[in-house]
């Protein structure tokens, strides 16, 4: 009886849970303009006033939104545009053009894209429109810095020129993560740019970070299963006060204030929520944090064969001896030979072609990197290489390496230990 009841419970939870996951994943992955903005009220105000003046008063404007990746630049502009479009008199009036520096890689493509988005039939450079009668256009240039690399910056010159002349009122909004963006602009273009910059700097502290964490995980009030939502939110509240969770969050916060990385962490934790494990726990978060901060190269090293590990250790010793000088296969092989002949008990003395094969495998994994490009006729044994692993990384990997022979481990700690 009780078994059946719990099963029932599970089913009920299952439905709610799939909904929870849908809602939260949408929140983490899509930048919907319906989510909240954090700590950018001043910037938002500035931007929306600017857009309104273009839309309502027909004034030309230009602005750059500058901030590191994941600081909410696109979110900000999306919010502002949504609010702008909600104003009745504006929604009919304003045209929007979205350009992305990664897509419109030269002015010709950009111009075509503008024409397409404005539904113009023919490409027109600069037509004179009257300030009060033509429709305001809002240009949004994502990855603005890439537009600055176009030839002569013709597109930017013309856009800024129009925004500063009594033609069609346009607002040029550039989004970029480069702080030195103004230095990229040519002097004539720079002079025409209004020098307005909105900086988004993730300028919040840890308490606010925790608040954001809570808000991001909380279910909205309009969630169908009220009881479940209440329970879930209570659980989240509990989590945000949990010491372990706060520790995890602090570590994450110290690494990056970026909200996207927080979303990543939460997403990983969310994946562990199942019907049998309906509520998120501190352990889930800790595990997710571990996955997030994992060293990718160390993981690769864990999957290497003993021979390959031995080669890496040989390279490490070479690095120590020759002070970061590049090495070639022959040197590594000799080092390996020395180890095998003198000390090794567990490692079989492989033939040279086999060792060569292992060496090439390491190269394919990009744990070692040739200094020059491999030419066809050069002898592969003598090509100079560099190791792309740090000493500490090797030592840490070795400690976790499953079934590592003790003599190999000893050899790793000291190149002189076999003497």
């Amino acid at each position: 009886m009780s078994n059946r009841k719990s099963k029932n419970n599970n089913l009920l939870h299952g439905e709610s849970l799939s909904q929870v996951q849908r809602i939260l994943r949408e929140r983490f992955c899509h930048q919907t303009p319906y989510s909240n903005l954090f700590g950018v009220q001043v910037q938002y105000k500035h931007l929306i006033e600017l857009l309104k003046r273009t839309a309502v008063h027909g004034e030309g404007n230009s602005v750059l939104i500058v901030g590191p990746r994941g600081s909410g630049k696109t979110m900000l502009i999306n919010h502002a545009l949504r609010e702008l479009m909600e104003i009745e008199e504006v929604s009919e009036n304003v045209l929007q053009v979205y350009l992305n520096g990664l897509l419109q890689i030269n002015d010709k493509i950009a111009l075509e894209e503008i024409t397409r988005q404005l539904h113009l039939e023919n490409v027109v450079g600069d037509k004179v429109f009257d300030r009060s009668s033509s429709c305001p256009v809002i240009f949004i240039l994502d990855e603005f810095d890439l537009f600055a690399h176009h030839k002569n910056q013709t597109l930017l010159y013309n856009l800024f020129d129009i925004s500063q002349s009594a033609q069609t009122p346009i607002a040029v909004i550039g989004l970029t993560c480069r702080l030195d963006i103004l230095e990229l602009l040519e002097k004539r273009v720079k002079s025409r740019f209004s020098h307005r910059q909105i900086h988004l700097m993730n300028s919040f502290g840890f308490p606010q970070y925790v608040k954001i964490f809570k808000e991001q995980l909380s279910l909205p009030a309009e969630f169908p299963d009220k009881l479940f939502a209440e329970k879930w939110n209570e659980n989240i509240q509990g989590l945000s006060e949990d010491k372990n969770v706060r520790e995890v969050l602090l570590k994450h916060f110290n690494v990056s204030k970026n909200l996207r990385s927080l979303h990543m962490l939460l997403m990983l934790a969310l994946n562990r929520v199942t019907a049998s494990h309906p509520f998120m726990t501190a352990a889930d978060l800790m595990e997710a944090a571990q996955i997030c901060s994992m060293d990718s190269k160390a993981n690769i090293v864990h999957g290497l064969s003993v021979l390959e590990i031995c080669l890496i250790i040989a390279m490490k010793h070479l690095n120590d001896i020759y002070e970061e000088e590049p090495f070639n296969f022959q040197m590594v092989y000799n080092e390996f030979q020395k180890f095998v002949q003198r000390k090794a008990h567990s490692v079989y003395n492989f033939e040279k072609p086999v060792v060569m094969k292992a060496f090439e495998h390491l190269q394919q994994l990009e744990l070692i990197k040739p200094l020059e490009r491999t030419s066809v006729n050069s002898q592969r044994e003598y090509q100079l290489m560099k190791l792309l692993l740090d000493n500490t990384q090797i030592m840490n990997a070795l400690q976790k390496y499953p079934n590592c022979p003790t003599d190999v481990r000893q050899w790793a700690t000291s190149s002189l230990s076999w003497l």
Partner: protein, 853 residues
Amino acid sequence: MISHNTRQKTRKTYSWVGRRLLDRKLGYQTYTEVSVKREGCSIQTHIQVGQFVLIEGKDENPYVAKLIELFEDDSELHSRKRARVQWFIRFCEVAPCKRHLLGRKPDPQEIFWYDYPACDDNISIETIIGPVKVVALAPDEVIPVGLKNEETFFVKLSWNEKKFKPLSPELFAVFDRRQEDRSKYQKPSTKNAESPSCHTADSVVKRTESRHSASKSCHIPSAGKKLELDSFPRIPASKIAQKTSCASLDSPRKTKRKMTFSETTSASKRPQLEAVKTSFPALKTPEKTGARGLIGASVKNDSPECHMTLRTPGSAVKTMRISEEMKLTPIREGRRTSGVPYVGLKPEYISKREAKEPEAQNEAIGTPHHARRKSSLLTLNRIRQQLRYLENNKSDQEDKEFLPASEDSNSSSEDEGASALPLLRRRPCHTSRHLQPVSEPSVQSPSRTPKKALKRRTPRCVTAKIRSRSLAAQEPASMLEEARLRLHVSAVPDSLPCREKEFQDIYNFVESKLLDQTGGCMYISGVPGTGKTATVHEVIRCLQQAAQANDVPPFQYIEVNGMKLTEPYQVYVQILQKLTGQKATASHAAALLAKQFCTRGSPQETTVLLVDELDLLWTHKQDVMYNLFDWPTHKEARLVVLTIANTMDLPERIMMNRVSSRLGLTRMSFQPYTHSQLQQILVSRLKHLKAFEDDAIQLVARKVAALSGDARRCLDICRRATEICEFSHQKQDSPGLVTVAHLMEAVDEMFSSSYITAIKNSSVLEQGFLRAILAEFRRSGLEEATFQQIYSQHVALCQMEGLPYPTMSETMAVCSRLGSCRLLLMEPSRNDLLLRVRLNVSRDDVLYALKEE
């Protein structure tokens, strides 16, 4: 700008006073005094020779002149009573393109001795409105502030259509004497009221006609012009004029009735005090167009000179100040005071936008600009034709020159075009001065019409158009918004302050080329934002106006911008299209243009070509530049090429010898604006608008002058400051002035480097990484390190500070984040551990930013 009420519907009777003197030489009878009597009003004004008078002008501005002589001329049919005057000119009557020659801002009451003999000084006395006071000042004297009442004018300089000169000592002496004379004259005049001095029998009835109400359909030139028309009654315009003046003969009764209800408390007290009712056009809100508000003003005249200012309850935006002044000449013991009410209508601020909006425009400001201009042009031409007839009658030897009397408006200028030296001359009109249509009230935007005219000439096939907005743009509501609008770079000012010399040089260059019908090149350089393009546009605008006034031959203007071309050869296509409307490929267009400019064709008008951003027309062979500079050298080309670029030594640096040689040495460089110039620019834009503290304007001017001297920057900062001001005052309803603090904030926002804030706001690990970089740099003594080296430092630092061990992947992510912000400069990340890292910020900045915590 004081405007004069031309709507007073009173008849005036003019009669001679005093002894008649016979001038034997001329056969005229001359007089020393005239009395003006206004019908329905017992006031009588006496005007003596030597006095200064106001004379009815074409528009609201009455002209100022000094009476030299009063005489009767029987040869004039319609108005025998004549006067000879010495003209004074107001600043607003000076041709707009020459105004800058003054080199300072004129005082509103300043007038100039008009030293131009070609101007006719014989007028009918019926055009005289009344006496006025004119005071001569030494050039270095300051116009007295206390005497700011507007019936006194000040003379400092004389103007001879070429330059402003200080008054010569003789003239100055004359002035002083005249003023003494005048006071002397006033005494005998007291008798005149009763003395049966020789009143001439025919007193002319005259009505000042209302330009506003009567001339809507047909622009009737006011007094001066009308008289001229009267003297030649076959012309239809004069008939209309007569008709209207006849039709309005019964109007005095109306005025009288109005006068009865206008009273003041003082009016009844003393016999001297007369209530004078004046009606004048009040600028009304748009819905009342047509129905002019008549506002009675009663003026007490217990002081010799009294003036009063009243305000009309205008709409919120169109606040007009209507000031009325009266100048009265008191008669000592006479029961009558003669007074001429003089009403000034002063548009305090009519923004350009309002002037542009046809429906919001009421008719007091004008019948639609274009129409008015057209009608005034029409009448101008008509008058000109008559003049020629008259002159033909008088002097037959001039027959040839004035023969084309039936020519249309366009070709009527040929004789003048050849001889034109002064840009704006007073026409040798017969009875009164006539100002050219270009010098219309300057409140209206002067830039519209020539542009339109230009566009008509260069047809373009419009292929695409952004759809027009469904809702009209909103008008500014508050003072700050208005200021922001005026500070926008796109708001082209009426005149460009601080670029007078450059303007004059370019103007003279192009004008001389136009007049000589030759070609030439000019190279203009200067850093961005110093007004190069704006000045050239202004020159072209003035020249187009001059061309419309037939002072220079008409020309075609083409503008190309190197930045707006996809490649240099497209310049041919653009020029050809703007020149002829044809479309062709680049090479074909080049051939066509070469044919057009280099071969002997039919006489054509000169082409003025502006090439902006010249440096972008550089090609490997430099053939584009070569052609552009080569065409003007051909005799038949009649091409004037103005080129603009940023660098002063562009011709030497990038041009081949044969190209730079053709460009010639006509060069001009625009210096960056100094702080005082920037300040002047701001002040001129914010005229009559108290939105900024004076200190604030000075601060921003100095800041920008120190940084770049870029006027655009200056305007942008001010605009941003108005926003900050508005934002900070949002709680209170009334936003105050923009203060220094607001401007400082705007300047900081625009110019301060964001690196430090970025570092301060970065995460702990990112800051740690920056520290590690500094440590590594200090260790190695180099400004560059590989990621691996920094990583080991970073690990050590983290252990020291008790932070969890940073994995390689995390650190790499941190590094690339800093790199994407350009706090660091780094190699592509495929180098992985070996990628080299450099700081993009100075070490001190990093240390400062990190220490702050």
